[in-house]
Amino acid sequence: MEKLEILSDAAKYDVACTSSGSERKNDGTGIGNAVKAGICHSFSSDGRCISLLKILFTNECIYDCKYCINRRSNDVPRASFTPDELCRLTIEFYRRNYIEGLFLSSGILYNPTFTMGLIYQTVYKLRNEYRFQGYIHVKAIPGADPELIQMVGFLVDRMSINLELPTAEGLSRLAPNKHRKTILAPMRLIQNGIVSNREELALYRNAPEFVPAGQSTQMIIGATPENDYQILTVAEKLYQKFDLKRVFYSAFVRVNEDRELPALPGGPPLLREHRLYQADWLLRFYGFEAKELLSEDRPDFNILLDPKADWALRHLEEFPVEINRAPYEKLLRVPGIGVKSARRIVQARRSSQLEFQHLKKIGVVLRRAVYFITCNGRMMYSVKIEEDFITRQLLDCKERLPFDADGATYRQLSLFDDRRFVMGQDQLIRQVIS
């Protein structure tokens, strides 16, 4: 019990907890299956989903990363599981429908290869002795023997390697034992493994699958001075060059006292994290590019408007869009129209002319979209397509932010949400200290 507490407490700062990307039926000899869209089984008190048994194999670690609660120089209770304990726990939780699978990570015990070996043992046992066919996500340990990583890849659904910080410079400052190169090398290895496995599967249908749900990574936001444009560009590169399934952003939570870490008087930069996720979605599903959303001159997101509305306001020449004729890609770029409603519009307009009343029922958020669309050549109200006017209107219909939902932690947007301000203040503090 205590062990579970220590090791799940130590793992909780990891953000990725999705069980998606794999579709697998049970073969009738074991327990478990996997569902493409993933299943959340519960939600913790911070509103994040609990899908997998997210846990560390051990929280002992030879590294000393400044932002991490398990760093070597911290005096925290340490514990380790045995492979059998972990397997039994996973199975017992799974059959009660508590969880969707296992998310195994670990501190570095002795050296990366040894740690990866422990993870391999556990996953091998779970798959072969306990016949577990549910979802498994493991962290590949940077610097571990590539062959070992390859072997683990054939047993799991998803693998991830944390980029930790968006730039090499930030990494060397806060995680002196980790290097950009050792992080990107296994990422490339897994990518190549997935590609060659895809060819194999095309040839031999029953070939073993290699990381079928793809790989993901995560970055800490707000611990180092990178701006949103840099972060988003890194994410875009990861999607394009490394075929990542997801990049996760984790608002920096200050768990250690350290001179190198910024003080965040307003709590973790949740709004920034939220904006990054919104932009991430725009990259992956809406056909946007990082350089369309931000630029060197405007490197940070607007704290008042979501990135899509912000883009639309700066590109009013593209609007209004005619609902009954515009191509799907154009519809996607209208604020208030999402992937689903765009698809429904395209389907429904085949059989009849769409009017504003239909759009509302289809799921378009009209109070945002009205300024940007026409139905059969007419706008809903006669409004000027003019930046100031629309900006004011959009700001009036308040955006629903996930952390505004809670009355208890309601916060006004403050200066602290602006990165430049926080960073400026941070430098000031450092100057005062030194």
Binding site: L4, S8, T29, S42, D46, R96, Y98, R254, R350
Partner: protein, 258 residues
């Protein structure tokens, strides 16, 4: 003009039989209505009582499958599992529009039509409910290595979620009990699943079985509760967001909230 109203039973077969009768009795038209169970009588209407006849329902089902495909059939099945009183009428009108050839392309894409959209919405509702049950249902091990789960969903989803669990746990004996509708989805290891109805007199007995614990059940429940508690990051605490994703009505039967 005198309206025709067909009154049928609240079940999938009931509604489908009524639809069959509409065509058999040549009542098809925009004023014809299918009503589920008793309701206020209207003055200018002819009422027809429809007895459920499974073979006739099957005929309608196979027509829908043949004419509109499996996807549309799935939408209709899910819509009919809801508790909405208007579901019969919406499904009837949707099928009628389809048979009349009023919709180009796949039937369920004609969302500009009010009835089709209603079926679409009902179906999506039930889909969400079923998915939430798959997420939030909790099994508890009782004596004899049997897993028991209790649910009280708004829509009749037991039969819709059984395939998921049967595929997931082929070697387990498990039972999902809908105590609101007195239904039990039963799966024995390596055998096909089925849904059984039980009578009101069995309520106490069912409650008794649901309240049992096996030997290490309590320990597992404690472990999971602790796990959920430790997982929340206190700097990000956000109870409203949690509630938005996990509404209170599902919590009474969930291990981590009891």
């Amino acid at each position: 003009m005198i309206q025709s109203i067909l009154v049928c039973q609240n079940s999938m077969e009931g509604v489908l039989t009524a639809i069959y009768r509409v065509y058999e009795w040549k009542l098809n038209g925009p004023d014809t209505m299918i009503q589920i169970g008793e309701a206020d009588l209207r003055l200018f209407a002819n009422y027809y009582e429809v007895e459920t006849v499974p073979p006739l329902a099957e005929k309608v089902a196979s027509t829908v499958l043949k004419r509109f495909g499996e996807d549309t059939w799935e939408f209709i099945c899910y819509a009919l599992a809801s508790e909405d009183p208007g579901k019969g009428q919406a499904v009837y009108r949707t099928i009628a529009e389809g048979l009349a050839g009023a919709i180009r392309g796949p039937l369920m894409h004609g969302l500009a039509n009010d009835d089709i959209r209603k079926v679409f919405e009902l179906s999506r509702h039930v889909h969400n409910e079923a998915h939430r049950m798959i997420e939030f249902l909790r099994f508890r091990e009782v004596e004899g290595n049997i897993l028991m789960a209790r649910i009280e969903p708004d829509a009749d989803v037991t039969a819709l979620i059984m395939p998921h669990f049967a595929d997931r746990f082929p070697l387990e004996n498990f039972v999902i009990v809908d105590t609101r509708r007195r239904l039990a989805g039963i799966h024995s290891a390596r055998k096909p699943w089925f849904v059984a109805r039980y009578e009101k007199e069995k309520d106490a007995q069912v409650e008794g079985i649901l309240g049992q614990y096996s030997e290490n059940e309590q320990e597992m429940e404690e472990l999971f509760k602790h796990f959920c508690k430790t997982l929340g990051v206190k700097e990000r605490r956000n109870i409203k967001l949690q509630q938005q994703f996990l509404p209170l009505k599902y919590r009474p039967f969930m291990t981590e909230f009891t």
